[in-house]
C-alpha cells in the first residue's frame, strides 16, 4: 500500500464494506488504483436486469483529476461508444474533488436511465434514439440480453 493516499484507502474500504446498491468495485491486487466494476442496469430502463462490467482507474492526480472509467460490456447507449468510453460531464469538465468513486459510479448508473442524445458520443446510436426512441430502446434491450445477462 506504500504511497497510496489515505483517501483512496478509505474509499476502497467503504466501497467493499458498504457497497452502493447495484454497484460493485474491487481493486486489483497488483494495482490498488485499478478497479473491476459491475453496474446493474436500472429498473425501468432498457438496461434493466443487465450486469455491465466496467473498469476504473484513479490517476496519480486523483482527486484533483477525475477517475477514468470505461465499460467492458457492449452497450447500446448514445453516450457510450464502441470502446465503452463514457460521455459524462463529471468525468470531464464538471469534475470536482468532492466527488468520489461511489458518486461517479452512481452517476454512470443514472446515465443509463437517462440517455442524453443531444450530447452524443456514439452518433449513430444518438441518431437512432432521436428519430425513433422506441426502436432504439428495443435494440438497447436486445444488447442487454445478449451481452449483459448475468
Amino acid at each position: 500500500m506504500a504511497g497510496l493516499p489515505k483517501r483512496i484507502i478509505k474509499e476502497t474500504e467503504r466501497l467493499v464494506a458498504d457497497p452502493a446498491p447495484g454497484i460493485t468495485a474491487l481493486p486489483h491486487e497488483d494495482n490498488l488504483r485499478y478497479f473491476d466494476v459491475t453496474i446493474q442496469g436500472p429498473d425501468g430502463s432498457p438496461f434493466a436486469n443487465g450486469v455491465f462490467r466496467a473498469e476504473l482507474f484513479l490517476p496519480e492526480e486523483y482527486p484533483m483529476a477525475p477517475p477514468k472509467v470505461r465499460f467492458l460490456t457492449k452497450i447500446y447507449h448514445p453516450n457510450i461508444d464502441k470502446l465503452g468510453r463514457i460521455c459524462l460531464d463529471i468525468l470531464k469538465d464538471k469534475w470536482s474533488p468532492a466527488l468520489q468513486i461511489r458518486t461517479v459510479l452512481l452517476s454512470i448508473q443514472a446515465l443509463l436511465s437517462s440517455p442524453n442524445p443531444d450530447d452524443p458520443l456514439a452518433t449513430d446510436v444518438a441518431k437512432h434514439y432521436k428519430e425513433n426512441e422506441k426502436d432504439a430502446q428495443r435494440v438497447s434491450r436486445e444488447w442487454t440480453e445478449k451481452y449483459a445477462s448475468a
Binding site: 494495482n31 488504483r33 485499478y34 482507474f57 496519480e60 477514468k68 470505461r70 464502441k82 470502446l83 465503452g84
Partner: protein, 138 residues
C-alpha cells in the same frame, strides 16, 4: 507513482494517435474500431527523405498482448521492405534486433516504436539497402 493499466494506457495512445502525432510521418490506429480489448493496430510509416525509402508508404500490423505495456507489442510489416530486423519470409520484426523492442520499458509507446523504425530506415547502414518493388506486400 500510479501505474496506468494496459487498457487505459492504450486508450491514451489511441486518443493521441487520432489527433495525429509529430509531423505525420508516422501514424497508427485501431484495425477494428470496436476492438474493445484494443489488441490489433495498424501503423503507417512514410519513408524518410534522402534515402531509398523516400516517399514510400509502409504499412505494418501491431499487436498488443495482455501484458502490454510491461511487454512490447509484436510488429509485422505488411509492405515489403528490406531491413536487417525484418524477416524476409513474413515481414515480422525480430525484437532482439530492434533496440526499442530489445530494451523495452513501459514508457515506450506505439509512437516510439514507429519513430524508431523510421529512424532505422534513415541510418547509415540502412539508407541505401536495395528495396523490393514499391507497393509489394508480404
Amino acid at each position: 507513482m500510479a501505474k496506468v493499466p494496459r487498457n487505459f494506457r492504450l486508450l491514451e495512445e489511441l486518443e493521441k494517435g487520432e489527433k495525429g502525432i509529430g509531423d505525420g510521418s508516422c501514424s497508427y490506429g485501431l484495425e477494428d474500431s470496436d476492438d474493445i480489448m484494443m489488441s490489433h493496430w495498424n501503423g503507417t510509416i512514410i519513408g524518410p527523405g534522402h534515402t531509398v525509402h523516400e516517399n514510400r508508404i509502409y504499412s505494418l500490423k501491431i499487436t498488443c498482448g495482455d501484458n502490454y505495456p510491461e511487454e512490447p507489442p509484436t510488429i509485422q510489416f505488411i509492405s515489403r521492405v528490406n531491413l536487417p530486423f525484418v524477416s524476409q519470409a513474413d515481414g515480422k520484426v525480430d525484437p532482439s534486433k530492434l533496440p526499442v523492442l530489445a530494451h523495452w520499458n513501459r514508457t515506450s509507446t506505439l509512437e516510439t516504436i514507429l519513430v524508431e523504425i523510421r529512424r532505422e530506415m534513415a541510418s547509415f547502414n540502412n539508407r541505401k539497402l536495395p528495396q523490393p518493388l514499391e507497393g509489394s506486400t508480404f
